[in-house]
């Protein structure tokens, strides 16, 4: 499975979002569409850390890394590199 697919599965399994996950592709605006809300963000940080065995610094929790699944994947890959 690609990093993008793993991230999408992680989001779909853990965020209480009422929209249609079928519409969520790599460039779907996660923040604008409120897929990730404040509680979701708290969960997401530890979920991504666990899933990819990385450590997310507080300074990394900025919109540019969380706007889309693609942004998240790029961020995760940079942490694993």
């Amino acid at each position: 499975m690609s990093t993008e697919e793993r991230i999408k599965d992680l989001l779909a399994a853990n965020l209480q979002w009422g929209g249609s996950w079928a519409d969520v592709d790599e460039d779907y605006p996660l923040l604008e569409k409120h897929v990730v809300d404040s509680l979701g963000m708290i969960k997401l940080i530890s979920l991504v850390e666990e899933e990819f065995d990385i450590e997310i610094d507080d300074g990394d929790v900025v919109p540019r890394n969380f706007r889309t699944i693609r942004d998240l994947a790029v961020f995760v890959e940079s942490k694993r590199a």
């Binding site: 009422g18 809300d37 404040s38 509680l39 963000m41 708290i42 929790v61």
Partner: protein, 505 residues
């Protein structure tokens, strides 16, 4: 201040006058409820003042809640007129379909024909407002006992209940808060809470009473603690008021050791219990800031408060909700309805000028919770039964122990577990269900649903079903499918057994 946009109080006043005049043209009469349905913005703040200037009662609708729920609220409050925003245009038809009796939409941030009203509904856009004169509308003056706003809160049977607050209710709290926290013109108050949450009453009206600035916190910042911390610093916020969970998020991930927030002088928090280890850390990081815990259900706005002292060494396990604010009396009452001796645990009763006028359109519930002539009381104020269990500690501070019923808090939001169960029970495949609160260090509680299903059912399906009917913070995060729901001998859901099970699993 709303992002790059600012308005002086004179500008706000003129815009509110124009809006108030438009509302009168739209047929709003003294005492009418007018809905406020838009994202928090300069227009939303203008909307509040405009509605009040027209002699109306504002009813803030959660812009993030599903139309089905808001339609029910609009029907209950009989909202014929909405002040709304173009960002909500897609939702208007669904709101009407869900039963909202709306005849007029006032959309201050849209030009025609940029937006179109659904069939049969009038629309007043920017142009219609610009035509209005900017001096005060000719509406009968509101008196202190008139309703200023109605806040809808979760109801145990699945129907939200409207808490009616008068101008006096708001002013009694605001006057106390301005004085107690020394709010003056040079202050900059943050506005973090949504407008349908009563914390916003402090942000907007304490700032206005003191001539201070109110700065709207951009919604997205709640997700990004470092950015939020930098924003507080750059916006030169002096007084912050929010639920504890956002402050906890800020302590844990906000790099406060870098920003330090030198301009900030006071942090007020309310809505849920603040875990003292996080509060203690926050106080260590911000040694120049004064901290206070404000307490009170929506029905009393704030009724008690506690100034948090600087602890030397380990913080206590929890902090008190403190002593009553000026003009308010509190009582700890036993099962028989009579006051208890100091130190005994009972239900908190509250009396005073901040106590609500009742529940909109619900005489029965009002009578059951707002007691007139309680214990031969002659103060003239009714006494509100909060349902909160409390006792006095030796220094005369009230300690909050929990609820008598199944109301819980999550991120400061008040949730009746029965409200969530009622929504789940509407699903055709759900035979029965029970929702319990799972304690959480940051958000106070997470919701877990135990579901007996007649057909195979996925969590996704239930999440989608819930979020079409409930605000997202009320949708359960965890599900367990089971064969039966434990019940007590009287047939009630045995929440204690389920809660214990949820903690061990």
């Amino acid at each position: 201040m709303d992002g790059d946009r600012t308005a002086t109080y004179a500008e706000l006043d003129a815009a509110a006058n124009r809006l108030g005049r438009a509302l009168l043209d739209a047929g709003v009469e003294h005492g009418d409820r007018v809905g406020l349905y838009l994202d928090k913005s300069l227009e939303a703040v203008t909307g509040i003042y405009g509605i009040l200037k027209a002699g109306g009662t504002y009813v803030p609708l959660d812009p993030a809640a599903p139309s089905a729920r808001l339609g029910g609220i609009a029907r209950d409050a009989d909202l014929h007129c909405l002040v709304t925003g173009r960002e909500k245009a897609e939702e208007w038809p669904a709101l009407l379909e869900a039963g909202a009796p709306v005849e007029t939409l006032v959309v201050p941030n849209a030009h025609r024909p940029e937006v179109e009203a659904p069939g049969g509904v009038r629309l007043f856009a920017t142009e219609a407002l610009a035509e209005q004169a900017s001096n005060p509308p000719r509406a009968p003056r509101s008196s202190l006992s008139d309703l200023a706003y109605i806040l809808y809160t979760s109801g145990s049977t699945g129907v939200p209940k409207g808490v009616m607050l008068s101008h006096l209710n708001a002013m009694a709290f605001v006057d106390w808060a301005v004085d107690k926290f020394g709010v003056t013109e040079p202050d900059r108050l943050s506005s973090h809470a949504p407008l349908h949450f009563d914390l916003s009453v402090f942000d907007l009206f304490a700032a206005a009473a003191a001539g201070a600035a109110v700065v709207l916190v951009p919604q997205q910042l709640s997700l990004f603690p470092v950015e939020l911390s930098r924003w507080i610093s750059a916006s030169k916020i002096t007084v912050w008021y929010s639920v504890p969970s956002i402050l906890t998020f800020l302590v844990l991930h906000g790099k406060l050791h870098e920003t330090r927030l030198p301009r900030l002088r006071t942090i007020l928090f309310a809505g849920e219990v603040f875990p003292t280890k996080h509060l203690h850390r926050l106080m260590e990081l911000l040694p120049h800031v004064r901290f206070a815990n404000l307490f009170g259900p929506t029905e009393t706005n704030v009724c008690t408060w506690y100034e948090v002292p600087r602890w030397t060494g380990e913080p206590p396990a929890s902090i008190p909700i403190g002593k009553p604010i000026q003009g308010v009396d509190v009582f700890v009452v036993g099962e028989d309805g009579a006051p208890l001796a100091d130190g005994e645990t009972g239900e908190l009763y509250v009396r005073g000028p901040t106590v609500m006028q009742g529940y909109w359109g619900d005489e029965e519930r009002t009578k059951a919770t707002l007691l007139r002539d309680w214990q031969g009381d002659t103060s003239g104020y009714p006494v509100y039964r909060t349902g909160d269990l409390v006792h006095f500690d030796p220094s005369g501070d009230l300690i909050f122990l929990g609820r008598r019923d199944s109301q819980i808090k999550s991120r400061g939001y008040r949730i009746e577990l029965g409200d969530v169960e009622a929504a789940l029970n509407l699903h055709p495949s759900v035979v029965e269900c029970a929702v319990v609160a799972v304690p959480d260090d940051i958000v106070t509680n997470r919701l877990k649903a135990y579901v007996v299903a007649r057909a195979p059912l996925g969590e996704d399906e239930l999440t989608r079903f819930c979020t079409e009917r409930l605000p997202r913070y009320m949708a359960p995060e965890l599900y367990e499918f089971t064969q039966d729901i434990p019940r007590s001998s009287t047939g009630k859901i045995d929440r204690r057994a389920l809660s214990e099970a949820s903690r061990t699993s």
